[in-house]
């Protein structure tokens, strides 16, 4: 697993308090990992800080799953 994926996973575990094993490529933050809409905003904020990138609102809306997040961040950083 890539370094980016590890760091994203760490953030998700910390913020949502979920088991690492539940965070699969296709795991949806809201449907599978128990996030509410405000949690997803906070996750995006945390990704921005961790990776020193800016995630515009329209892009943030497309980040629904763990895989989406890793893909977006890999391309942006």
């Amino acid at each position: 697993m890539s370094d980016i994926a590890d760091r994203v996973k760490k953030i998700v575990v910390e913020h949502l308090g979920v088991e690492e094993s539940k965070i699969t490529e296709s795991a949806s933050f809201i449907d599978d990992l128990g996030a509410d809409s405000l949690d997803t905003v906070e996750l995006v904020m945390a990704f921005e800080e961790e990776f020193g990138i800016e995630i515009p609102d329209d892009a943030a809306e497309t980040i629904q799953t763990f895989g989406d997040a890793v893909k977006f961040i890999s391309e942006a950083s």
Binding site: L38, V41, E42, M45
Partner: protein
């Protein structure tokens, strides 16, 4: 009780009577204060009066870019914004049938939209800190209406709806959002009223007197305090009984 030591507070309209008193009261409770307003001189005079822990942050609230920049400037100056007091307000009174689009939109822009932009700007830090206080200064006329103030009353009522909606969204993060609705308070604005006008107003105030800025500031201090952590989405009316709602 109500100790704000170590907290940072951004207050808009701090050059006015009520805003300046809010700043004094929060500062007196130990907070570091960011004094915002359009007129620099009274802000600097107030900062000099307060001494340490006071920062002057001028801002024209009708300028969207300047408003968006203000939270960043406040965070830079104070290290964060734990407490936001949206106090700034203007009036452009006119009969509704004569009210121009500009009179309407200027009042909405400064009294309501700026409060939204500033709240949005400080929320990120509050979310991370899992603690925040937003206090919006509404008005009794937002609840009761007032002839000649369709724009002002709309903005002040708008602040209440905005406060409640935001309060829902961020309550789980330790952030409270409330409004204070002053009645008739002794300020430069009400000093201009004639004795007859004052007598007419006071006839409707059970307390039989105007309120003092200190009495508004005390309500803000409560809502800004740690002790008010379970109070959110509320409107605290401070009006001498003028409207018991």
């Amino acid at each position: 009780m109500f100790d704000l030591t170590g907290k940072t507070a951004l207050i808009t309209g701090a050059s006015g009577g009520i805003g300046a008193q809010i700043a004094r009261t929060l500062h007196g409770a130990g907070a570091t204060v960011g004094l915002s307003g359009t007129r620099v001189e009274p802000l600097e005079a107030l900062a000099a009066e307060l001494g340490a822990r006071a920062h002057v942050l001028p801002c024209n609230l009708s300028d969207a870019e300047a408003v968006t920049a203000l939270p960043k400037q406040a965070i830079e100056a104070m290290g964060g914004v734990d407490i936001l007091v949206n106090n700034a307000g203007i009036t452009r009174d006119n009969l509704f049938m004569r009210m121009s689009d500009d009179e309407w939109s200027n009042v909405i822009e400064v009294n309501l939209t700026a409060a939204m932009r500033l709240s949005r700007g400080v929320l990120r830090g509050m979310m991370k800190a899992r603690w925040g206080r937003i206090v919006n200064i509404s008005s009794v006329v937002g609840a009761t209406g007032n002839p000649g103030q369709g724009n002002y009353a709309a903005a002040k009522a708008g602040l209440v709806g905005m406060s409640k909606s935001l309060a829902y969204e961020v309550a789980s993060r330790g952030i409270t959002v409330n409004a204070v609705a002053p009645g008739f308070i002794t300020t430069a604005m009400t000093d201009k009223l004639t004795e007859d006008q004052k007598a007419g107003i006071l006839g409707n105030v059970p307390a039989g007197r105007m309120g003092e800025p200190e009495e508004i500031a005390a309500a803000v201090l409560y809502l800004a305090s740690a002790e008010a952590g379970y109070t959110t989405g509320t409107v605290l009316h401070v009006n001498g009984g003028l409207a018991m709602i």
